[in-house]
Amino acid sequence: MMTANYVALATVIFFIGAAGVVVRRNPLIMLMSIELMWNAANLLFLAFARAWYNNAGHIFAFLVITVAAAEAAIGLAIVVVVFRSRTNVDVDEVAILKG
């Protein structure tokens, strides 16, 4: 019974993260929302690991955290490079490529 609750909780957090990416215009908030999505997935992995008593979920969660770290690093580096020379940190400003 407990696993079902965890699945519901993870789905809710996942879609809050997705909404965050879509709604917010600040790139940092977007990156944080992406972190939220990934953590929701992590939670789901651990919930199912607990249900199946299979520690593959733990390993997967650990890997997700590593990759999230790398991705956050590169993400922030790109954000810094892009917005270093701009006045306001707004993703809608970054729209040269179109058509």
């Binding site: 407990m2 696993t3 079902a4 609750n5 965890y6 519901a8 909780l9 789905t11 809710v12 957090i13 879609f15 809050i16 993260g17 997705a18 909404a19 965050g20 879509v22 709604v23 215009r25 600040n26 940092l28 908030i29 990156l31 944080m32 929302s33 972190e35 939220l36 953590n39 992590n42 939670l43 651990l46 919930a47 690991a49 607990r50 199946w52 008593y53 299979n54 520690n55 593959a56 733990h58 390993i59 969660a61 650990f62 890997l63 955290i65 590593t66 999230a68 770290a69 790398a70 956050a72 690093a73 590169i74 922030l76 580096a77 810094v80 490079v81 306001n88 940190v89 707004d90 809608d92």
Partner: protein
Amino acid sequence: MTAAFWILAVLLVASAIAVITASKPVYSVAGLLAHFFFLAITFFMLSAEFLAVIQLIVYSGAILMLFVFVIALLSSGVAPFALGPNRLPKIAAPAAAAVAVLLGFAGYAIAREPAITPRIVASYAGPVGAANVFGSVADFGRALFTTYLLPFEVTAFILMVAVIGVILLAGESTPYVPTRKRARIVERQVREAIVRAGEE
């Protein structure tokens, strides 16, 4: 047990919403920190002690600190965040509705209590924290370095890529000169300065 879950669930959702609705990025970082903390507690409930600790140390400790530094870097002397026309087309409202619909589905799928028949893989089950028990660090370590060695090796490459990538992206374009050589260059420059001073 379930009461704790519900409290944590409410707290988790609240902190997540706080992250995306905060007006200033610092508040959203705080929200995220709270979120990670509650997650760590949940992980403990799910008998994943190692992961809980990693969550606290790596995620909150390292990645969040990165965010704080960048926020500091970008906000110094810069106009407030997120001003300017909100150019998202009018579709935002229906998108939100869609999210709501899906949440409903998630609930529906859950309510039907999927027939998860746990197949006991690990032969042992025991209280949280005991050695060699499911979820313990020893068990985690053994799995990581025997069954899932290939993923572990690949993470090495991933981190390497992150490091090199960041340097290339954001690093200054001055070339890296080894220390001893640099010392000799400085000496030469000093000598030349003296000789030039001498001539004048």
